[in-house]
């Protein structure tokens, strides 16, 4: 086997060429991990929102809270459906909710549709993982609101103790809550009756969340609700509901993959060029090594190692830059707002995670192997006497 120093030494010897090729791979890694980071951050936000033993009840045909309405009688009846969990004081873990999307003014002077959820105190128990990290829960009928972590500081008045203006009223922010990075953090919660009055909704509730009792099959309960002839309702586990919401993000995956494949091929061509040039420039050297008795295989390996080393260095530089740029973008833009699919704004924190880096590592190594293979093969196939011949 040829020493590693031979492969690496050659990379160092041809500085410009190596730097440009490493640069190409680093840029590809950077672009791909940033984009993949964006997509997986979005997905993480949507997917981490639901839990499997909580049902979302909406009007049949509604794909999200915003476009649904559930009659009052249905809400009353569903609370006491068999299979709905109870809390310690035997109250059903059911949370009737009203969702509207009023304009919030951003600090930069724009406006966004923010999801405001009118709830009852029970909501804190029905939704899992909600923690009030500052202030307290709102009290009913006092014009109070609690805001998610991503809402805080993004909009005018969105801070503890300030007045938030939306709908037809002013709301006093009394608490800030977290929910483990889920999309709930992009929401504002107020008292359901107050919100209904403010938005003049003919039907006070848009949907209902039900916690399923232990030992009851969530799907079975969902079917019973869906089949009830009194109301045209649909029920599904929260996980499924948010999966559907996240489905809209799948197009981004397609784009990410397309992007990765195309840039990967481009970078492969670049690497191939570099290594072909290296083979061409080192013909005599390769001939000498073959004359000395190195096998074709060891020449092949050595060139592949050279190519993989290029890719690896490119990956290292690119991934460090990607993580840094991810932080920088989050720092400069705060969070990245997505509003296209449901008309409500989800604020996503861009984070280039291990998955994104792993994906771009695979890409970089594929570029290394694919870009190195044909030149390495040519090097290995050089016949020593021809390689040694000058000119």
């Amino acid at each position: 086997m040829l020493p590693l120093r031979y492969a690496l030494g050659n990379l160092i010897a041809r500085r410009t060429r190596t730097a440009l090729t490493v640069g190409v791979i680093a840029l590809v890694v950077l672009a791909i991990s940033l984009f993949s980071g964006l997509v997986s951050s979005l997905r993480h936000t949507l997917v981490s929102t639901g839990s499997a033993d909580t049902l979302v009840v909406l009007r049949k045909g509604s794909t999200n809270d915003g476009s649904s309405a559930v009659p009052l009688e249905a809400v009353k009846a569903l609370r006491y459906f068999e299979g709905v969990a109870r809390d310690s004081s035997d109250q059903p873990l059911a949370s009737p909710e009203l969702v509207v999307q009023p304009f919030f003014r951003t600090r930069q002077g724009g406006r966004e549709n923010v999801l405001v959820r009118g709830v009852e105190p029970m909501a804190l128990q029905v939704h899992r993982g909600i923690t009030i990290v500052a202030g307290r829960m709102f009290e009913a009928s006092r014009g109070e609101a609690i805001i998610g972590k991503s809402v805080a500081d993004r909009y005018v008045g969105a801070e503890l103790g300030s007045e938030l203006v939306f709908g037809r009223s002013k709301w006093k922010v009394v608490g800030i809550f977290e929910s483990g990075g889920s999309s709930l953090e992009s929401e504002t919660w107020v008292d359901a009756r107050e919100l209904a009055a403010d938005s003049k909704r003919p039907v006070p509730y848009s949907g209902l969340r039900l916690r399923v009792a232990a030992g009851t099959d969530p799907d079975a309960l969902a079917r019973r609700i869906g089949d009830d002839p009194r109301w045209a309702l649909d029920a599904m586990p929260e996980t499924e509901y948010y999966d559907k919401q996240a489905e809209s993000a799948s197009i981004f995956y397609v784009i990410a993959i397309g992007l990765a494949v195309l840039t990967g091929i481009g970078a492969t061509f670049g690497a191939t060029n570099t290594l072909y040039a290296a083979v061409q420039a080192r013909r005599a050297e390769i001939g000498t090594l073959r004359a000395i008795g190195f096998s074709r295989f060891s020449i092949l390996t050595s060139f592949l190692i050279e190519s993989l080393a290029l890719a690896l260095v490119g990956f290292l530089i690119g991934s460090v830059l990607a993580v840094g740029l991810g932080h920088l973008v989050s720092f400069l833009l705060g969070g990245i707002a997505f509003g296209a699919s449901t008309f409500t704004t989800n604020v996503v924190e861009l984070r280039v995670g291990p998955f994104d880096l792993a994906a771009s590592l695979v890409l970089a190594l594929s570029v290394g192997i694919a870009g190195g293979f044909f030149p390495a093969l040519r090097a290995a196939r050089l016949r020593p006497i021809e390689a040694l011949r000058r000119g």
Partner: protein, 390 residues
């Protein structure tokens, strides 16, 4: 210079493999840049192609989901300077209930549509048919294509907001790529609601107003808002352009990322091209020395080498543009036009601006990548170059 073209060409043809690989890499990168740019360009294009500077929109100050009393429309119509006004009321109709709402559909007033959106070029006879048929519908081109509908078809939409399903007959097309709307008569919905619930439709979603001249727009905006101040539903009036900017401002972060990625890909392009240029110059040190020895001037050597790099990247850029055009056609054929998640980002149309931008990118890359090696080679003294080789 022109007489050297064959010489430049032959140099590119000499290392065919490298030229092919470089051209392909450049083509791929340019195609990608084009595709990525279609997204932000889609936003701009929507704004400029759909928005008119004499059309304004009035919405509830509280938000798009907050309705306005229907009586507002006539009050607005009565203002001086208003040529026509119509309302949009979101019907939330789903063609297939399981798939939900797949295109925006609104109840509107058929009489004023043609005036408010006269710049959209809807055929007069179709507008006429729309006015006459109570169950008529005007449908955007992409929505027609995606659902495989044609004029004359009957379709039923089930509302996810109102307790009704309505059957429509498509009477016309909104001939714009970027307007996926489905419009139908407000009266039709009103009567259906009356029959079903006893109460008609007493609110509207947004009001769209055509103003007689651009100079009057600013004044009218403040007049309308003043008219409804301190009422139960305060309004927020703005030009169509500003409305769309606000609406799409929510995509800003995403567009920023797209632009960053585009920039990175473009930079990649420079690197790939520069690598090739530097390799080919390096391998031709002796040749260049000979050229100079026989009397070629520095300037000429420089120009020849630069022209080679520029030619290479222009060929790549051209191929990339064609690829991008082909891909966008394919995407359109595959029906990826209006993805709910991408919204207006998913239009993937190569505009003339993108076309020009891509060509300039290729030219710029060629210049940049060729400059340094060409400069170095033209500067190098003949003696030192020959010494290195022989």
């Amino acid at each position: 210079m022109l007489k050297f073209l064959p010489f430049i060409w032959r140099n590119l043809a000499r290392n065919r493999l490298r030229t092919t690989l470089t051209t392909s890499a450049i083509a791929l990168a340019v195609a990608l840049v084009c595709l990525l740019l279609t997204m932000p360009a889609g936003l701009d294009a929507i704004m400029s192609s759909l928005a008119s500077n004499t059309r304004i929109v009035v919405v509830n100050k509280g938000g798009l989901v907050y309705p306005l009393p229907y009586a507002y429309l006539n009050k607005i119509r009565a203002r001086p300077g208003v040529v026509a006004a119509t309302s949009w009321t979101w019907f939330g109709g789903a063609f297939d209930v399981d798939r939900g709402v797949t295109f925006p559909n609104f109840a509107i007033e058929p009489d004023s549509v043609g005036t408010v959106w006269e710049d959209w070029g809807i055929a007069p006879e179709q507008l006429e048919a729309f006015r006459k048929r109570r169950d008529g519908a005007l449908v955007g081109r992409t929505t027609l294509q995606q659902n495989g509908w044609k004029i004359g078809d009957r379709v039923t939409l089930s509302s996810t907001i109102f307790p009704v399903s309505l059957e429509f007959q498509i009477v016309g097309e909104i001939p714009l790529e970027r307007a996926p709307h489905f419009w139908f008569q407000r009266e039709y919905l009103d009567q259906a609601l009356r029959a079903k619930t006893g109460t008609g439709l007493d609110f509207l979603g947004t009001a769209w107003v055509r103003v007689d001249e651009a100079d009057r727009v600013e004044l009218l905006l403040s007049e309308i808002d003043a008219m409804f101040r301190n009422s139960e539903a305060e309004t927020s009036s703005e030009t169509e352009l500003s409305y769309m900017k606000n609406f799409m401002g929510q995509l800003e972060g995403f567009v920023t990322i797209i632009l960053i990625v585009t920039g990175l890909v473009a930079l990649c392009l420079v690197f790939i091209a520069a690598n090739t240029a530097s390799m080919s110059v390096r391998e031709r040190v002796a040749e260049i020395a000979v050229l100079k020895a026989v009397g070629f001037r520095r300037r000429l050597v420089f120009n020849t080498l630069l022209a080679e790099a520029v030619l290479l990247s222009m060929i790549g850029g051209g191929a990339g543009l064609l690829t991008a055009l082909g891909l966008t056609q394919a995407l359109k054929a595959a029906g990826a036009g209006w993805s709910p998640a991408l919204g207006p980002l998913g239009s993937f149309i190569i505009t003339p601006t993108i076309f020009v931008q891509a060509l300039f990118l290729a030219l710029f890359v060629g210049m940049l990548s060729g400059w340094i090696p060409a400069f170095g080679a033209s500067r190098r003294s003949v003696a030192s170059a020959l010494r290195e080789v022989f």
